[in-house]
């Protein structure tokens, strides 16, 4: 008897070592998997941030501008019409001429004037329209530099390259160095990037239009997808009889969740634009398409949330004579709502990052104006990234990364909100 128990113990001990080794191996593999995942996330963020952070600053040049009525070509007129059609570029030219009096040749002069962004005259125009009394006065004003100058100042253009391989020749580089020595070149926070719409000129391009477009599209999506999705989930989960039809519907909803998003774009193009005649490139149509795409996610998440409400709560309500409707709306729904909201937010985050279906309905157009409503043509944030990633200008590279950073910030904060909601409303019973 004693012998037998000893051998059993030995066997157990022998197997113990093996079991622990297995456990250690598994744990190590888990750690490796997590580390790999984290490494990739880290790489992604490092590359995006290192590429994009500089886009939040823009090189500006301080120029002495005299609002000379003669140069503006407005004579004595100070009305809106005269001011809005005046020649503001002349002011910039005059100021540059003063700093570089030795540049006389036409071709060189054009290069000189090109150092300042073509958006600078517009800035001056805005200043003067806001305050016509400025005419005749003299101001030192920070004006945005052209994107090539911006790149040079940020060190993105290699000065050691032979002149012919550079976008800026030695003469222009010399001018920039002289301006820098004069202390009139500085990098200022790039508010344009957040407020402006798209532009051919990188220094004038911004994500303001794209964010507004995304906002309208998501608003439409939220207003449609949340009520429809939740109502569908409640009906299917609580009221619908369990038969072949509801099984079929359930399978189809699950299939719908797996349909490639570009197919929804095609559907939207055919249905909303060609048949319903809604305007192309409009956030309304984008929102409708994203609704179709988000609905299955919301329905599935909401049904899971409803399923997780313990049946004892339903029984309690039914047992004291609550009707089906009262049971669902007084007891089940409040318990399931956090889960539903989480699902909705995750669905919305998915919709925010979606590009392909929006390409199909024309939200990929070049839109300079910031949309004023859901029917105005517009782009969306991920589409803007797609457009910029395609642009040849060096300065768009950093703007692409910066736009990705903004998009990621939105996505992360939405997911955080979902987590917070879940934590806040999590209940025990």
């Amino acid at each position: 008897m004693a012998d037998r128990s000893t051998t059993t113990l030995d066997k157990v001990n022998a197997s113990l070592a093996r079991r622990y080794a297995k456990e250690r191996r598994f744990r190590r593999m888990g750690l490796v998997a997590i580390a790999t995942g984290l490494l990739f996330v880290l790489l992604l963020f490092t590359s995006i941030i290192s590429n994009g952070y500089s886009a939040f600053w823009q090189t500006h040049v301080k120029l002495d501008i005299t609002f000379n009525a003669e140069q503006l070509g407005i004579g004595d007129a100070r009305d809106f019409e005269a001011l809005s059609s005046a020649d503001y570029a002349a002011l910039v030219r005059a100021s540059l001429k003063e700093i570089f009096p030795e540049v006389r040749e036409r071709k060189e002069r054009r290069k000189l004037y090109k150092m300042i962004s073509t958006g600078a005259p517009l800035l001056l125009r805005e200043m003067l329209i806001n305050d016509p009394s400025l005419v005749g006065s003299h101001h030192a004003i920070w004006l945005p530099a052209d994107d090539d100058i911006d790149m040079l100042v940020k060190g993105q253009i290699d000065r050691t390259l032979p002149e012919s391989a550079r976008r800026l020749n030695d003469q222009v580089v010399g001018w920039v160095d002289r301006l820098t020595e004069n202390g009139v070149v500085a990098q200022l926070f790039n508010t344009t990037f957040f407020t402006a719409g798209d532009s051919r000129e990188p220094e004038l391009a911004g994500i303001g239009g794209a964010i507004t477009g995304s906002f309208y599209a998501l608003l439409v999506t939220l207003l449609l997808a949340f009520p429809i999705g939740v109502a569908t989930a409640i009906y299917l989960e609580e009221f619908a009889p369990k038969n072949r039809w509801t099984d079929l519907i359930e399978i189809n909803i699950n299939n719908l969740a797996a349909v490639p998003s570009i197919v929804f774009g095609l559907l939207g193009l055919a249905l909303f634009i060609n048949i319903a005649g809604l305007p192309r490139s409009a956030p309304l149509v984008g929102g409708l398409v994203l609704t179709l795409m988000t609905l299955p996610t919301i329905i599935i998440a909401s049904r899971a949330a409803l399923k997780s409400v313990p049946p004892s709560i339903r029984e309690a309500a039914i047992g004291i004579g609550a009707s089906k409707m009262q049971t669902v709306f007084h007891h089940v729904l409040p318990q399931a709502l956090p889960g539903m909201l989480t699902g909705t937010i995750i669905g919305m985050a998915q919709a925010l990052g979606e590009t392909a279906p929006l390409l199909m309905i024309g939200m990929v157009a070049f839109v300079v104006d910031i949309p004023g409503g859901p029917l105005d043509p517009s782009t969306a944030l991920p589409v803007q990234i797609f457009l910029w990633a395609d642009s040849p200008e060096r300065a768009f590279v950093e703007r692409t990364s910066a736009a990705i950073m903004v998009l990621l910030a939105f996505l992360i904060s939405m997911n955080l909100l979902a987590v917070l909601l879940r934590k806040k409303f999590e209940r025990r019973w």
């Binding site: 009889p241 709560i313 309690a316 039914i318 047992g319 004291i320 004579g321």
Partner: protein, 281 residues
Amino acid sequence: MIVEKTAPAEDASQVIHANFGGTVGDLTVAEPRMTARNVNVHYADKHAIIDVSLDIGRHEVVALIGPSGCGKSTFLRCLNRMNDTIDSCRVSGEIMLDGQDIYDKKLDVVPLRARVGMVFQKPNPFPKSIYDNVAYGPRIHGLAEDQSALDEMVEDSLRRAGLWDEVKDRLQQPGTGLSGGQQQRLCIARTIAVSPEVILMDEPCSALDPIATAKIEELIDELRQNFTIVIVTHSMQQAARVSQRTGYFHLGRLIEVGKTDEIFTNPQHKLTEDYITGRFG
């Protein structure tokens, strides 16, 4: 080691079903509150209740006992049509409440469940305040005319459930924060707040400690003055302590029914005797 051969369970059930000559004992009472006649319940393919007939008298506590899976809970849930919520469940036969067929197609189950309340095995207060738990029934049925009447109803129900003194200072705190026994009494208070005629209790003490159990049993005895109570229990001592009549279920059949003291002292059927003397179950 030699494994002893035991007869499969099916054989035993066949023997019972083949030789069953009907429920032993008097299943009727004078002026019954509820009467069940030839009730059969099927879950999909399973015949869970077979030809059960039983009267439930006024102001009495009827205990239903029997081994697990014998159908006593299923029968209990037939009495207020809780089984309606299970899709695969079909009920046939006749169950009357005060002379009215509760399985009549025209009958509305919502008022029925207000008349026949239910207390469940696991305490299941709503995740709301203690006050709202008790006030919920009166609110949905529109029993209270104003706030003060509702307050009174809540207090009265909590008093009758023996919980008032323990919770009167924290009515706005969540009902789920109470102890298990208190939660179960809260559920009883919630049930009696809508003044039902019959209260069905499905093993109300199985999740409670002996002290909480004693309190609930005491409460059941008091509630008998105003309500009719049908209680399913696994504890034979409990059945003996709280009930006036007892029914013994076995494999879907009501084997024997009679006065509680007679059932426990002088069972007529062999199966009943085996069960209460602890030979199986």
